[in-house]
C-alpha cells in the first residue's frame, strides 16, 4: 500500500448555476509534489480551498494527513501550510511582523516565533526587506513572504495555489527552486498551476482538471505516453506544387490529419513510434517531387497532451469537425 497523505473522493461543489467541481478524485503520496493542472475556472482553486478547510464540499470526502477536512478541520489545520492565490499577508505590517504574528497564532511562543521569522527571512532572501512594510514589496517578494508565512510551523503538507502566476521568469525560477528544496526536506506539496511547464518541471504526478472534473492523471511521462503519439514536424524546402498531394502523402503515415502552416512549408502530424519513419516521410514526399529540409520527431509535450485532453472534454467533438473542415479546406 502506498502512503497516501492527501486523498479526495468525489468532491462536488456548486456556486449558484456553476458546477465548480463535478466529482474530483485525487491522491498525493507522502513526500511527493502533486500538480493540479487546468485552465482558469477549471475548479483548481475550489478543490484546494476544500482540501485546506476554507470551503466545504457539497458531497464527497477528503482526508489530509488522515483527517477529514470537514469533521476534523482543526487537526488538518495543524498540519498544513497554505499559500492562496491572493496575497494573504498583512500589507500594513513589515515582513518580520507578519511572520511573527503567524507564528504566534500558530501556537508558537513569541521568542520561538521571532527566531523562526528571522530564519525564514534569510532563507527566502528577504532579510534586507525584513523591516519594511509589505506594501512596498515587489510581486516576487510578496509571494516569497506568503510562502514563508505558510511554512512558519514547518507543516508536513503544503498547498500552493498558482504559486508563480504573475511572476517574472527569474522570480518564477527562484520559486521553483524553493519548492524543490521544500520537497527535498520531506514536505508533501500540492500545487495548482495553469503552466504546463511548471507541472512538468516540478510535479511527480499530475492531475488535469477541466470543468470541475479530472480528465487525466499520471506522471508527466505517463501523460505524454498515454496520449501515445509523437509529433513529427516536416519542413519543406519550398511550398509544394500541390498541397493536396503532399497532404495525402503524409496522411498515409498517420490516422489523424496533418496540420499545415500558413506558408504551406511546414507539416505537422501525430505519429506512432515506429522505426524508419523519417526516411519513409522523405521517400513519400520525394515520390511526388517535394524535397524536405528538415524532419523532427519529438515526444508530445505536455502542451500537446493538455490541449488534446481539454479540447476533447470541453468541446464535445464539435470543434474537431470544424478543425477537419479547416484543414481539408486549406489542403484543397
Amino acid at each position: 500500500m502506498t502512503d497516501t497523505i492527501i486523498e479526495a473522493r468525489g468532491l462536488t461543489k456548486r456556486f449558484g448555476d456553476t458546477q465548480a467541481l463535478a466529482g474530483v478524485h485525487l491522491d498525493a503520496e507522502r513526500g511527493s509534489i502533486l500538480g493540479v493542472l487546468g485552465p482558469n475556472g477549471a475548479g483548481k482553486s475550489t478543490a484546494l480551498r476544500i482540501l485546506t478547510t476554507l470551503s466545504q464540499p457539497d458531497s464527497g470526502v477528503a482526508r489530509v494527513a488522515g483527517y477529514d477536512v470537514v469533521t476534523e478541520a482543526a487537526e488538518v489545520r495543524r498540519r498544513i501550510g497554505v499559500t492562496a492565490q491572493d496575497a494573504t499577508v498583512d500589507v500594513a505590517l513589515t515582513g518580520r511582523q507578519n511572520l511573527v504574528m503567524i507564528g504566534e497564532l500558530s501556537r508558537m511562543d513569541r521568542r520561538a516565533a521571532i527566531s523562526r521569522a528571522k530564519e525564514l527571512l534569510a532563507q527566502f532572501n528577504l532579510a534586507d526587506a525584513a523591516d519594511r512594510v509589505v506594501k512596498g514589496y515587489s510581486g516576487g517578494m510578496r509571494r516569497r513572504l506568503d510562502l514563508a508565512a505558510s511554512i512558519v510551523t514547518r507543516p508536513p503538507i503544503l498547498f500552493l495555489d498558482e504559486p508563480t502566476t504573475g511572476l517574472d521568469p527569474a522570480s518564477r525560477a527562484a520559486m521553483w527552486e524553493v519548492i524543490r528544496e521544500l520537497r527535498a526536506s520531506g514536505v508533501t506539496v500540492l500545487l495548482t498551476t495553469q503552466y504546463l511547464e511548471e507541472a512538468d518541471q516540478l510535479a511527480h504526478r499530475i492531475v488535469v482538471i477541466d470543468h470541475g472534473r479530472v480528465i487525466a492523471e499520471g506522471t508527466p511521462d505517463e501523460l505524454k505516453t498515454h496520449v501515445g503519439r509523437q509529433r513529427l514536424d516536416v519542413r519543406l524546402a519550398q511550398p509544394p506544387p500541390s498541397r493536396v498531394d503532399a497532404f495525402d502523402a503524409l496522411a498515409g503515415l498517420t490516422n489523424g490529419a496533418p496540420t499545415i502552416s500558413d506558408d504551406g512549408c511546414t507539416f505537422s502530424l501525430a505519429v506512432d513510434d515506429e522505426p524508419g519513419l523519417a526516411s519513409r516521410v522523405v521517400a513519400q514526399l520525394g515520390a511526388i517531387g517535394v524535397s524536405v529540409d528538415e524532419v523532427a520527431v519529438h515526444r508530445a509535450s505536455l502542451d500537446d497532451v493538455f490541449f488534446q485532453l481539454t479540447g476533447h472534454a470541453a468541446e464535445d467533438g464539435t470543434n474537431e469537425t470544424t478543425d477537419h473542415t479547416d484543414t481539408s479546406g486549406e489542403a484543397a
Partner: protein, 289 residues
C-alpha cells in the same frame, strides 16, 4: 461566551476536559492579544486614523462648552460645562468605538488576510474580539482627551477619584458594547466604505436624540420618551451621576433616568449579548462557501 463557543466549534478538537478548556481560554486570549497588537501596529503606521479619538474630542469639547455654554441654562441649575463633559464623553465614544470596529473589520474581511487566519490553528472568534479590544484601547485614549479638554475649560467633578473612575468605567463598558454593534455592521456590509456610511447613519441619530448636549426635560412628549429610553441617555446620565455633575434627567420619570447606572450597565450587557451572537452568525455567513 456562547457565541464565542459557537464560532469556535469547528476550530477546536471535540474532546473536552477541564484542563483543556482552561488551555482553550488562554489560547483564545493569546490569539486576541496577538491580533490586538497587530491592529495597534496599523494605528502606529497611520496615526491620522486616531483623529476621531484625539482631535475630535478636543474640538467638540471646546466647541460645545464655549458655544452652547454661554446660552444654556440647566433646569435645576449648575454649570453647563460640568453637565456637558459627561455627555461629550458619551457622544465621542458612541461615534468612534463602533465606527472603528466596523471599518477595521470591514477592511479585514475584504482582504486575503482572513483566509490566512482561517487556515491557522487559531481561534476564529479572536479575530472579531481582537478588533474590539484594540478599539477599547482607542476608547480609553478618547476618554483621556475628553477629560483633558474638559479640565482646560473648567470641568470639575465632586465625587472623588473613585466616582471619577466609576464614571469612566461605565462609559467605556457602553462604548465597548457598541463596538460589537459596529462589528455587526462591518460584517454585514460589503466593504469598509459602506460600513462607514451605514455606521454614521445609525450612530449619529443615536448620539443626538439623547441628553448628551441638552437637557431633555422640556422636549415634546414623544421625543422625550425616545430620548429617555435611548441607551446613550442612560449612559450619559450615569456618568454625570457618578461624577457628581449636574444631571437634570433625574427629574424625568422614565425608569432608565431614575436608575441611570443600573440602566446603563443593563443596556451594555444586553447589547453585548445580542451583538456577539449576531456578529458570530454574520462572521460565519461571511466566511462560508
Amino acid at each position: 461566551m456562547t457565541a464565542v463557543q459557537e464560532l469556535d466549534r469547528d476550530t477546536v478538537a471535540t474532546a473536552a476536559s477541564t484542563t483543556q478548556s482552561h488551555t482553550r481560554m488562554s489560547d483564545w486570549w493569546r490569539d486576541a492579544v496577538v491580533l490586538t497588537r497587530r491592529n495597534l501596529i496599523h494605528v502606529c503606521r497611520e496615526p491620522a486614523q486616531l483623529s476621531d479619538v484625539t482631535v475630535q474630542p478636543i474640538l467638540f469639547t471646546l466647541l460645545f462648552t464655549q458655544l452652547f455654554g454661554a446660552a444654556m441654562v440647566l433646569p435645576g441649575g449648575g454649570s453647563y460645562t460640568d453637565f456637558a463633559v459627561g455627555g461629550l464623553l458619551m457622544m465621542n465614544l458612541v461615534t468612534s468605538a463602533p465606527m472603528g470596529t466596523a471599518v477595521g473589520l470591514g477592511t479585514d474581511m475584504s482582504t486575503g488576510i482572513i483566509d490566512r487566519f482561517r487556515t491557522l490553528p487559531m481561534r476564529r472568534s479572536a479575530i472579531v474580539a481582537g478588533r474590539t479590544f484594540s478599539d477599547l484601547l482607542a476608547s480609553v485614549m478618547c476618554a483621556v482627551f475628553v477629560a483633558l479638554a474638559g479640565l482646560v475649560v473648567g470641568w470639575r467633578t465632586s465625587t472623588g477619584p473613585l466616582g471619577l473612575l466609576a464614571g469612566f468605567a461605565v462609559a467605556l463598558l457602553f462604548g465597548y458594547a457598541l463596538s460589537w454593534f459596529g462589528a455587526c455592521i462591518g460584517l454585514a456590509v460589503k466593504g469598509p466604505e459602506s460600513a462607514q456610511s451605514i455606521g454614521l447613519i445609525i450612530l449619529f441619530p443615536l448620539a443626538f436624540v439623547s441628553n448628551v448636549f441638552v437637557p431633555t426635560n422640556n422636549l415634546p412628549a414623544w421625543l422625550g420618551t425616545l430620548a429617555a429610553w435611548n441607551p446613550v441617555s442612560a449612559a450619559a446620565a450615569a456618568v454625570r451621576d457618578l461624577w457628581g455633575d449636574p444631571n437634570p434627567s433625574k427629574t424625568i420619570h422614565a425608569w432608565p433616568m431614575q436608575h441611570p447606572v443600573v440602566a446603563s450597565i443593563a443596556w451594555s450587557l444586553a447589547i453585548l449579548a445580542v451583538c456577539t451572537v449576531v456578529a458570530t452568525r454574520l462572521f460565519k455567513r461571511r466566511t462560508a462557501d
